[in-house]
Symmetry: C2
Subunit: 301 residues, 2 copies
């Protein structure tokens, strides 16, 4: 899994400060998470072949998380896209997009599927061949979901030494990868474990933005490899965090610690701060492996 | 009048190629004409104090002319704007904007006025103390208006030498500026023309985008100081211009020549061209004083 931060700033796009958008590469599949204004320009600037995006997940209908979506949809049309595009997001997103397409008399030539979300409970919303996506209901001023991406476990790995030793037929290799035992010509059985190694452990990534401090979130993301959690504020603005239903860096770190994730990425920074190191320091009171999101930064998860 | 080109490219925003948006300074009043995605970032990049914008004119509801509007409206709210904001544009623009504000539960704290346009005839839509704005119905794939901005004539200028010679009371200066004659203490009349000079000639600016070649437009903009006319294509793509209801550089120049404007600014260039000089050359077959729009360029009109 590779995560590219396209934008990580709160509220309004500014010079060199894009609003929320992330590109996640899961085993070669590109998904876009949130889509603030100017996301398509960021994708071009970073040289991403963004026509490959087939799934877009929008957390909530505040502008800094989706005002770039209609432009991206239009650009796909102008570039002659034919592949389906799936949009996941709160109820209302379909009306916003289709109203604009209708008034512009600019229907897409490709199929556009809206998957509108209304549930307050976590749901499995995508079961792809290579990964799954579940919603993570958050607590914000409007209906909001985070998203949990889990790679599916890959095939078992052939143990080349063992395969040679036991003289396995080439035709059986696929069965071995699928975890099946081998029935030899004399009817005896060769156990799969003798011939294969465990596959790469599958990675998972939880995107949680925007949300007030939500302790019960930790249960839902227990043990994920990487967590992106919003950290709009520092301790000294705890009152603002409560009032606007955002989190502080320390609160994000407490979620990471309780959920025992491997690493925490902080983002959605308020523009009032210039010393970003304070986010790391305040988070590290609770959780050590903290990183800061930054526009254009790439994380190998 | 001063015109700042914020973006001048057709279809989709790209790296270093913003879509249509212009900032017009008329006697200190800032108006925004069209508002492609990323316009607010361009305004910041160019250091414009954009909170001063009170009137926004949208030509039509294709994305490259208005997808940045909702973001700008939201940013005004986040910056604590209290001044009224007036939006002029095709019917439907109010629904697009208010639907998004409603779903985000983010009503503006300032008053937002929509002036929706439906007429196929030219209308006077704003009679400001310092300028007027009329629509210029265009011929595009959706309902589209250009806009004609005319400065109002300023006060007459005091002729300092004459005023000294005739010993005019300071209290009469305002009357002189308004064009009135002076009644002296002996009852005799001093004609205004003796004491004042003509005011600066008032400037006018016509913004015409997007449109197919529309010869009757020339009548409506006869003698304007400056004309911005779209030139999406060059001669060799005349067929595309007809099909998509856009203009070529040569067609834009023919409008400028017939309307006897002072200068022509071309813009809305298709991304298929790299040699921009061809636009000037093809236009100059019909009209000499041609300039190319360029993102960030400022024209003193």
């Amino acid at each position: 899994m590779q995560l590219t931060i396209l934008g990580c700033n709160a509220a309004t796009p500014r010079k060199n400060a894009q609003t929320t958008a992330q590109l996640l590469d899961i085993k070669g599949q590109l998904v876009l998470i949130d889509c603030g204004e100017g996301t398509q320009m960021q994708l071009r600037k970073l040289g991403v072949k963004f026509a490959r995006i087939q799934h877009i997940f929008i957390s909530h209908l505040h502008g800094d998380h989706f005002y770039g979506l209609i432009g991206l949809i239009s650009t796909f049309r102008l570039l002659g896209r034919s592949a389906d595009l799936h949009i996941y997001g709160p109820k209302g997103i379909k009306e916003i997009i289709t109203l604009q397409l209708k008034l512009a008399k600019s229907w897409t030539d490709y199929d556009l599927y809206f998957h509108e979300l209304t549930s307050l409970d976590s749901e499995l919303i995508l079961d792809h061949e290579k990964f799954t996506v579940e919603t993570l209901p958050l607590n914000h001023r409007v209906y909001t979901n985070g998203y949990l991406f889990r790679e599916k476990t890959g095939p078992r790995k052939i143990d080349k030494v063992a395969v040679e030793k036991y003289v396995v037929d080439i035709a059986d290799m696929e069965n071995l990868k699928q975890g099946k035992d081998i029935i030899q010509s004399d009817g005896s059985i060769l156990a799969n474990q003798l011939l294969t190694l465990d596959p790469e452990p599958s990675k998972s990534y939880a995107f949680c933005s925007d949300t007030a401090y939500l302790p019960e979130l930790a249960k839902r993301i227990q043990g994920v490899s990487s967590l992106y959690h919003e950290a709009t504020f520092l301790d000294q603005h705890q009152d603002l965090a409560v009032k606007t239903k955002h989190s502080t860096a320390a609160e994000a770190a407490q979620i990471a610690a309780t959920a025992e994730v491997n690493q925490l990425i902080l983002g959605h920074f308020s523009s009032r701060y210039s010393d970003m190191n304070a986010f790391v320091l305040q988070a590290q009171r609770y959780f050590q492996n903290v990183h800061l999101a930054e526009d254009g930064k790439i994380f190998d998860l």
